[in-house]
Symmetry: C2
């Protein structure tokens, strides 16, 4: 395990960028961030855990929504500051209910929405009373 961390180059906040890609279709699902603790947890459990910069804590992907990511393989880039997570995504990756967060394309200089939600966001995150 130690040689993995020797190869990583964390930024000044102790984070590396992590790309999640559906392992069999190649679809890029999202970009998030990981710290050493979230990487260790992900490798130990096989369930992807990020570090939420906005909440300042571990983000167990799908813990609230059920839209978990099972880790298939973790890869490190040549300079150790980015990870590629090959995952099996349950349901949708994006909080908007879309499969991928990259659903806005630029075509002919204009923004175009290229994917619709598959699940309504309020089904993903029911308001608890």
């Amino acid at each position: 395990m130690s040689d993995i961390f020797d190869r990583l180059s964390f930024n000044e906040s102790g984070l590396v960028a992590a790309i999640a890609q559906q392992h069999d279709t190649g679809e890029v699902l999202m970009l998030a961030w990981m710290n050493s603790e979230s990487i260790e947890e992900t490798l130990a459990t096989g369930q992807v855990c990020y570090f939420s910069r906005s909440r300042g804590k571990l983000w167990r992907k799908g813990e609230t929504s059920g839209q978990v990511q099972r880790l298939v393989e973790l890869r490190i880039d040549c300079d150790g500051d980015a990870l590629l997570l090959l995952v099996d995504q349950t349901g949708v990756a994006c909080h908007t209910g879309r499969r991928s967060c990259f659903y806005t394309a630029i075509q002919n200089g204009a923004l175009l929405e290229i994917a619709a939600p598959e699940i309504a966001p309020d089904e993903l995150y029911p308001i608890t009373k």
Copy 2:
């Protein structure tokens, strides 16, 4: 063009993360960074230009090595701080001569090199005298 930049959320260094993916095979090639100028140039020329954090200036991918990336489509993620560049990569994306920068996998807790160089690095970057 202005509505594109309205949707982007640059970090404190004026950058957004950019994932390059081969448009037809789905292979994730690399992760780099872009500032507004490099995005404008990429959209204007159709050749991918990043911002090099180490050199502190525009990085016209392939300018030295010839391993250029032609832009097929640029996509923006849901919160505007990451880009997905669908590209057509000439040759290899990685400075090590490998197709992708993500050539190191973690398998059974150990690092494993899963791709060999296709071009020797000194062929990519000949020493100019």
